[in-house]
Amino acid sequence: MSEMSKITRTVASLAFPFILIFGLYVIIHGHLTPGGGFQGGAIVASACVMLLVAYGSENVGKRLKEEHLSTLESVGALGFIGLAFAGIGTAFFYNLFANTGGLFGNTVEFGINAGDLNTSGVIPWMNIAVGIKVMAGLTAIVLTMAIASNKHFDKEGEE
């Protein structure tokens, strides 16, 4: 994929931070609102893919390496399983941090309320881990496909 027009690039650059923030919002509010790690991660990845389309895979491929994204993906997955392991003193997947008063450790209020972000124990952490994994994984997939199709077109051009 080659670079697109200047208008597209400018709009993509302008929209990028907003999409990024929205994706992070969906990830971090996973335990309160519809969405969560996977959906938010996909939104963040779509922001990266938008840049990839606007600026072309050659330019983005120089800054963003598939290898690094794969590492990030492994880290996300390990974080998720590690959090599941953290509760193994009681049971696997036990919610260790719920109602402990620390970060994400408030007790959920009873009845109708606005929703407290600072609750749910390990669940927000797991959402963050899944978000990292999905963001890195999806971006890596699209990047790999874009670079592969690049090579394919180059070869056809030579023939």
Binding site: T71, L78, I88, A91
Partner: protein, 523 residues
């Protein structure tokens, strides 16, 4: 002792969680180099194998293990809401029996891959996916929850599919993987619809809870048809076998071996659905006969399709279909006689034969696929017409092939004989014709493997393979020797295996009430 108790209590989840953790750690460890990564993966496989054997010894001695996820204790909620809503693992003798097979095959596959996988790219991802396959198999075997069975089936299918396509530069790899993917997706959707039908009626997903509430309504019948056909498709029974030869022959040899075990995990799910979820609530005679007919068709069509093959792995893949027919036949006879006096006379023996054949088949067919992989590793061909005279230089591979071939043909003193005799004798009392077909298939199997042995290993040395056809590297040798030793040991002492592993497994599968009471007893 405290530590050992803790390990034993958490063993069902550790068996799953350790390979899962290792799967995602492998790409990171892989950055240190090939040796640290391989040592890491092999040691995880060894630890998992040890955990499985430790858990199996306890389950067989002291009964079923139930592991509840995410809660301090018990499957019921603290408020006293007496419906099992938590996710559980329920591990009985049948589950650990299957887990022993999966763990052993995974270990052998990983050791073999050390030398076999020499591709420049994607080695770390190969091990990640292989460990994910193990996770999927263990999950299907341990879970006590219908929806989780679907999730693990998907994990297994996706990891297997990616590994079938591992050598994507060959066109046949993508063809095999595509077929496998289509079959897996269709099968998984069948399972999902069936689970939705059951959930819609009974409002629970727990296997034991649905099993104890099941009424065998019209919707349950539809769910049964969907579940049986999906799992029969996934275990490669004729007439849903068309993906098996393509996927098995296109995958790298160690993956093919693990795929055999993956198909057996689907077969376990089929048996679990038939015996535990529905059990005597359905017409066991009709469903039993259906499974018997699937088995006989698989046996006969599998072996007749195998005879004319020229591709060594394709030939073995058709034999894998044929051999899974024996398992379906044996356990199908058990299901058809379930609840009648004939069950204790010969039905249970037929089930023992069928279940014993599962472990035997995993070991000798794994061994045969590994020898085929060894030939491919040296000669770079799977075409039997291009081979010859390998017995001169690949002596150990030839010896391992003989062990595997005699075992699959049911020649004493190898393990295939022991399970086939159990099947012949008990099935003869059920229906003599079925037993005769089973024996005939065995003869044809022997004929087919005589052909393979003759064209690959006998004859003069071929000049084009001078210096190429050497003995395989030691990791491949170790993996084959491990399986060959198990085949010989199980053939020499079949009574030990039958008494200590197979009989508890058959009784656990038939003993529906124990499985249901373990969860529903207090409710």
């Amino acid at each position: 002792m405290m530590f050992m108790d803790w390990i034993l209590h958490n063993a069902p989840v550790l068996i799953l969680a350790l390979p899962l953790l290792a799967a995602f750690a492998t790409p990171l460890v892989g950055k240190l180099g090939k040796w640290p990564r391989n040592v890491f993966v092999v040691s995880v496989a060894v630890i998992v194998e040890a955990l499985v054997i430790y858990l199996a010894s306890d389950v067989i001695a002291n009964g079923m293990h139930t592991y509840v996820f995410g809660a301090a204790s018990g499957i019921l909620l603290p408020s006293g809401y007496s419906v099992p809503v938590r996710i559980i693992f329920q591990v009985d003798a049948m589950s650990v029996f299957m887990a022993i097979i999966s763990a052993t095959v995974t270990l052998a596959g990983i050791v073999y891959s050390w030398a076999f996988v020499t591709d420049k790219q994607g080695q770390s991802k190969y091990y990640t996916l292989l460990l994910m396959m193990a996770v999927g198999m263990f999950g299907m075997e341990f879970t006590g929850d219908l929806f989780n069975m679907f999730v693990f089936l998907e994990i297994l299918s996706i990891a297997s599919c990616a590994l079938v396509a591992f050598r994507i530069s060959f066109s046949e790899s993508s063809e095999g993987a595509l077929k496998y993917m289509v079959v897996s997706a269709v099968g998984a959707l069948f399972v999902l619809i069936a689970i939705a039908l059951l959930y819609g009626q009974y409002n629970v997903l727990n296997l034991a809870a649905v099993g104890s509430a099941i009424q065998f309504t019209a919707l349950d019948k539809i769910a049964l048809v969907l579940l049986v056909s999906a799992f029969a498709m996934k275990c490669g029974a004729v007439p849903m076998h068309m993906w098996t030869p393509d996927a098995y022959s296109a995958a790298p040899a160690p993956i093919t071996m693990v795929l055999v075990s993956a198909s057996q995990a689907s077969m376990y799910a089929l048996f679990r659905i038939a015996f535990t979820l529905y059990g005597v609530s359905m017409n066991t005679g009709a469903v039993g006969w259906f499974i018997i007919i699937l088995g006989v068709l698989s046996m006969f069509i599998g072996v007749t399709m195998a005879l004319p093959q020229k591709d060594i792995k394709r030939l073995m893949a058709y034999h894998a279909i044929s051999q899974s027919g024996y398992m379906l036949l044996g356990v199908g006879v058990g299901l058809a006689t379930l609840g009648s006096s004939a069950f204790n006379e010969y039905g249970l023996t037929a089930m023992k034969g069928g279940i014993f054949h599962i472990i035997n088949h995993a070991m000798y067919k794994g061994l045969l696929f590994l020898t085929a992989g060894a030939i491919y590793y040296r000669l770079n061909t799977r075409n039997l017409n291009k081979m010859g005279g390998l017995g001169h230089t690949m002596k150990w591979t030839a010896a391992f092939f003989i062990i595997g071939a005699l075992a699959i043909a049911g020649i004493p003193p190898f393990n295939g004989f022991a399970s086939k005799v159990l099947i012949y004798e008990s099935v003869f009392r059920f229906s003599p014709l079925l037993s005769i077909i089973a024996m005939l298939v065995s003869v044809l199997t022997l004929a087919s493997f005589v052909k393979v042995f003759h064209s690959a290993f006998m004859g003069p040395r071929l000049p084009e393979y001078e210096g190429v056809a050497k003995e395989v590297p030691w990791p491949m040798f170790v993996a084959m020797a491990l399986l060959a030793a198990i085949v010989v040991a199980m053939g020499l002492f079949p009574n030990l295996i039958v008494d200590n592993l197979v009989t508890p497994a058959a009784q656990a599968l038939a003993g529906r009430a124990d499985y249901l009471n373990a969860v529903m007893g207090g409710a």
